[in-house]
């Protein structure tokens, strides 16, 4: 019996879908059975980030309305046979699914998987309620900006009011140089404001754009710093203790030496 996670943020554009794709792929790389669910009805995009957009036949709404069996709608990943995607519908009707149906769906999905990971739409309306309805745990994604942190705070309040206890935080798109010059909030600042446990930090990394262009999550690229960060995060989800990544190790001389020697930094 697996666990159901929801990945949420309140604000749009902070990296929920990228986080979902990377954590899911990385957990599958570790050998876990993973189902990713795109709960953003009407704005399907997790399929594109995963590079599975050409293989969709049925979607979440078809399953909820009994137009197909759950198995028929699940798309198996090209790279990992233990990774599946349940795509969102492209219907304009956001009320096409209700929280009760999502609960049933999650209960069904977790029977035969280790992790069910739900990509939640931005906002706090029906889509949020749907995505959180069947979830047991929550990962809140934010970036070091006032607006994103503020929305994360609202979301944490809403999660705690629902049945999801102790959400954890992923702080995305950290620019080490700007933190150093005092022009970006750092990890401690954000954690202090939100009073929430940290699951992981992810550096701002151009390789994310490249991997999204290609439809290959960054965790597949061993040179990607963001990929490394997401691999660490997924190992923590699986219960391993992994120290926080040192974001300053970027392109430094010592790091290049370490790479030449085949050593990887946390």
């Amino acid at each position: 019996m697996g666990e159901v996670y929801v990945i949420t943020s309140g604000k749009g554009g902070v990296g929920k879908t990228t986080t979902t794709a990377n954590i899911g792929t990385s957990l599958a790389m570790q050998g876990y059975r993973v189902v990713l669910v795109d709960a953003d009805i009407g704005l399907r995009n997790l399929d594109v980030v995963l590079g599975l957009e050409n293989r969709i036949v049925y979607d979440l709404v078809d399953v909820a309305h009994g137009r197909c069996r759950l198995r028929q709608a699940l798309i198996r990943d090209r790279r990992f046979e233990n990774l599946y995607l349940l795509p969102a519908a492209q219907t304009k009707d956001k009320t096409a699914v209700n929280p009760e149906q999502m609960k049933e769906l999650c209960a069904e999905l977790k029977k035969e998987s280790d992790y069910v990971i739900m990509d939640c739409p931005a906002g706090i309306e029906q889509g949020f309620r749907n995505a959180t309805a069947g979830a047991e745990k929550a990962i809140v994604v934010t970036t070091p900006e006032v607006a994103a942190v503020r929305d994360a705070d609202r979301i944490i309040g809403l999660l705690e009011a629902s049945e999801i206890r102790d959400p954890v935080l992923v702080l995305n798109r950290i620019r080490t140089k700007m933190v150093k010059t005092g022009d970006m909030l750092d990890v401690e600042d954000v954690i202090e404001h939100l009073a929430i446990d940290l699951l992981g930090i992810v550096p701002d990394d151009e390789s994310i754009i490249i991997s999204t262009n290609r439809g290959e999550p960054a965790v597949l690229n061993s040179d990607s710093k963001a990929g490394q960060a997401y691999r660490n995060i997924s190992r923590r989800i699986a219960g391993e203790e992994v120290p926080l990544m040192n974001l300053e190790d970027g392109g430094g001389f010592m790091n290049r030496v370490r790479r030449l020697l085949g050593l990887r930094t946390g």
Partner: protein, 91 residues
């Protein structure tokens, strides 16, 4: 001296945009979380009254407490008429 050096090297941390963000975030979160229900405010009022009663006699009916906010801060403002001071053992 250190301050001067920091200023020369353009690292006046007091004016860095991070500190501006910190302060704005602190205020915006405080305002967002300020949404106290009347029930919570009533509990706060009762608790306050119990503490004060040990020291003085107050006019409970006239007691007013409110959260007031402006752009820069939030204050818990209490207006509590004192009827009589109690004689405290320590005096």
């Amino acid at each position: 001296m250190l301050e001067l050096l920091q200023r020369i090297f353009g690292r006046d941390s007091l004016k860095s945009s991070k500190n501006v963000a910190q302060e704005r975030l602190r205020l915006v979160l405080m305002h967002d979380r300020l949404d106290l229900s009347p029930q919570v405010l009533e509990e706060l009022r009762a608790d306050l009254m119990n503490v004060i009663k040990d020291y003085m006699v107050i006019d409970e009916k006239m007691m007013e407490i409110n959260l007031e906010q402006d752009k820069k801060c939030v204050a818990l403002v209490a207006n509590i008429p004192v009827v009589r001071m109690k004689r405290l053992p320590s005096h």
